[in-house]
Symmetry: C2
Subunit: 185 residues, 2 copies
């Protein structure tokens, strides 16, 4: 009998268990704390929040504010919490394919000058390094100031995932550059 929803809906249900209450706050949390494995745009957030209310998974409280638009605070209902629970309990059906533009380019790089391919990999590695450093500073922030938060450990696990993926990809870039150089001889 229970409807199933898309990932975006479950992401919002999950975020509403933290102290984010409005569409704006949700967007901020995602951009700051989930950006290494999730993203979402306002064009999805606001319609999805409306739908949560229509399906009784959440309730809204509208507060008038002068100057600003009404502030709409969303709160999970028991039904909403249950829907989240059920989704959390379901194992992954299948590992989704992550589309990777760099790998796609590399796949066709026989038709490319070697130096261009090397530059592609070098540039990718550089961007990954910046990302890695961002993760490390976020980690320090959480470890420093957020230890009181009940979510903190889980946040750190996901951050660790981001760091490991980034690091493994950088290593692959380096190894592959080496192999391409050898080929050239």
């Amino acid at each position: 009998m229970n409807k199933t929803y898309n990932h975006t809906t479950y992401a919002l249900l999950g975020i509403l268990t933290t102290d984010c209450r409005t569409g704006y706050e949700i967007k901020q949390l995602i951009d700051q704390s989930l950006n290494h494995f999730w993203k979402i745009s306002y064009g999805q957030i606001y319609p999805t929040l409306k739908k949560l209310v229509a399906d009784r998974l959440a309730t809204v409280t509208t507060t008038a504010q002068d100057g600003k638009p009404d502030r709409k605070e969303y709160t999970l209902t028991a039904e909403g919490k249950k829907a989240l629970q059920e989704w959390l309990e379901q194992p992954l059906q299948q590992i989704p394919v992550e589309r990777n533009e760099v790998i796609l380019k590399l796949f066709f790089s026989r038709h490319q000058r070697t130096e261009h391919t090397l530059a592609l990999l070098q540039d990718y590695k550089q961007k990954l390094l910046e990302r890695y450093e961002t993760y490390q500073s976020i980690e320090q922030m959480i470890k420093g100031s957020h230890l009181e938060s009940a979510d903190a450990n889980y946040w750190l696990y996901t951050l660790d995932y981001g760091k490991r993926m980034t690091k493994a990809t950088m290593e692959w870039c380096e190894v592959t550059k080496g192999q391409i150089n050898q080929e050239e001889d």
Copy 2:
């Protein structure tokens, strides 16, 4: 003045440099050789091939076959090759966010029984292991029989990427399970 296209279009341009000529063959190549970093459905392939011809990036040759539908072979034009080249030369604008459902669930797993979270990670690790073994057998096949192909080295680099990502993720699963177990005490 040059149009830009979406990734799917460039993927098709790239594949047309191999000896895949029809929509059907393209789909097969993707499912067999690019499935660790790319996928595509017929619903995209056929309309995109049409568009390639409309934009003069490719030409079609239609061969009547009795019983079967006409076989349509696509060939890149000089313009098509140029478009592919230009895309290959462009560095990545920004690392895209890969949405990962398991990580999303873990992020909210404070609201979940510990054993369920452990089961989620265990199940994920198991699926990753199967994938890893698939990659290894593909690698053996390429190393054994496809060494004559000029593309083979590049295929192996992308496979190596898939293997490294899979392995790093399995390691992360194991480490995280250990940390969650420690927390429980």
